[in-house]
């Protein structure tokens, strides 16, 4: 009898201490990974004004073709057909582990928000860019430098824009912005 009570007391003590330990442990019992550093590194830089390089926007078939391809496609993995000369579907990037990985090259997917000549499933978040040359450039409402800056960083013209930022984020090179601008302002009426 005496022994039984002792055992019971011991068992109760054991149970309460374990549950006490557990209770203290529960603040670490679940996963809550840190994301703040990932976000910190990913932040968008301040609105940036760019100077359009000389000979940037031009009536050059190769440049316009690249601009067109970037405009209508999301990335190299999803793009159909062969990209024009000077543009690739995949780029090689060195990972943290030092291994070289093939990554789909990102394109503009401008068509997600804009309609334009030949657009398939164009969105309407941005203005329709059909007939852009005639409506905006020939009429002198816009010039090439405006188009270049708009694509590079639209926030300079409109701080509250819904449009994507393309050069400040380094998603594209200056040359690629020139290609896009050349395509937007090109005369597509004869095509």
């Amino acid at each position: 009898m005496q022994r039984n009570i002792q055992l019971l007391a011991f068992a109760t003590m054991f149970v309460t201490t374990t549950s006490l330990v557990n209770a203290a442990d529960l603040t670490k019992a679940y996963d809550m990974p840190d994301a703040s550093k990932m976000i910190e590194k990913d932040l968008l830089a301040k609105p940036t004004k760019f100077t359009m390089p000389k000979g940037c926007v031009k009536d050059d078939a190769a440049s316009i073709a690249r601009g067109e391809f970037i405009f209508h496609n999301l990335n190299g993995k999803k793009a159909k057909g062969t990209p024009p000369e000077g543009l690739v579907k995949f780029v090689e990037k060195k990972g943290k582990d030092g291994k070289v990985k093939k990554k789909a090259k990102q394109y503009g997917n401008c068509v997600a928000c804009h309609n334009i000549e030949g657009a398939k499933g164009g969105g309407n978040i941005g203005p329709d860019l059909t007939n852009y040359k005639k409506t905006f450039i020939d009429s002198k409402v816009r010039d090439n430098a405006f188009v270049f800056q708009k694509i590079a960083d639209p926030r300079i013209d409109n701080p509250k824009t819904h449009m994507t930022v393309n050069l400040t984020t380094k998603l594209f090179t200056e040359q690629e912005i020139c290609d896009l601008a050349s395509y937007v302002v090109s005369d597509k009426s004869k095509k």
Binding site: L26, M32, D34, D42, L43, V111, G121, H162, T164, L171
Partner: protein, 254 residues
């Protein structure tokens, strides 16, 4: 198990949406058919079995949360919420992990399909309830809401976009490539995930859905269960709460 009742308005808008939208007539027919028989029902059921076998079911859950079984649905409708003994504002999935650890079981990963199923089951206990999130209940939930709202509005990634770029009031309903932009409150997003995602043929949770938008828009994809993700869930859930959208799990999405 309670079945999801989809708002008539959504069906009508799907049925009348023009050519430019991604849903074809065949898709719409399939959608209607699936409404009657949501493929995710079996995952929710599986989640219920896992909870029962692995953790002791609703009774154990209610006990862990310090509420009666009767109070459980309303209490669940308040998630994500601050749980004192866990020291943070947490999601249902994190509560389940803590229960597993307390019972000496192996912790299921937050992104594990089994966890998605269990989470869906537990949230479905609150079906037909409206959210009961009180962002002024304590400083922790207030901070979580604020962090969620901030995360929602922070522009980042390769295209300099934030969630708000595509989900602000002024552009709702406009078309992004064939997809009309949803009003997250009106769509009851917080109240209808976990959902069966037809285009992915699987059960997805709200935080997993956030990751989808991040990936598509080139925002660095942040991990499920992080403070920012829980905050986003709080924020997006309150949008559904403001519109008085009842919880209906599992949802059914394009």
């Amino acid at each position: 198990m309670k079945r999801v009742i989809l708002p008539i308005a959504l069906l009508v808008s799907l049925a009348t949406a023009g050519e430019q939208f991604a849903m074809s007539d065949a898709d719409r027919a399939m959608y209607k058919e699936m409404l009657e028989n949501n493929p995710a029902d079996i995952y929710v059921e599986e989640g219920g079995e896992l909870l029962e076998e692995n953790l002791g079911g609703e009774e154990a859950l209610a006990k862990f949360l310090g509420v009666s079984e009767k109070e459980l649905p309303k209490y669940i409708a308040g998630f994500p919420r601050y749980i004192k003994k866990l020291g943070n504002v947490v999601g249902i999935d994190q509560v389940l992990q803590a229960m597993q650890v307390e019972q000496g079981k192996e912790k299921t990963k937050l992104k594990d399909k089994k966890m998605f199923s269990m989470l869906a089951y537990v949230k479905s206990l609150a079906n037909d309830e409206q959210f009961t999130i009180d962002i002024n209940a304590n400083e922790q939930i207030k901070a979580s809401y604020d962090l969620g709202k901030k995360t929602f509005e922070t522009a980042r990634g390769g295209r300099g976009l934030s969630c708000l770029s595509c989900h602000s009031k002024d552009i709702v309903g406009q078309v992004l490539r064939t997809q009309p932009l949803p009003d997250l409150g009106e769509a009851g997003a917080g109240a209808t995930w976990p959902a069966y995602r037809m285009t992915k043929s699987s059960l997805r949770t709200l935080q997993r859905r956030f990751q989808g938008c991040m990936k598509n828009a080139l925002l660095k994809v942040i991990p499920i269960g992080s403070k920012e993700m829980v905050g986003l869930e709080v924020y997006v859930s309150t949008l559904a709460q403001e519109k008085k959208k009842p919880i209906t799990i599992p949802g059914l999405k394009r």
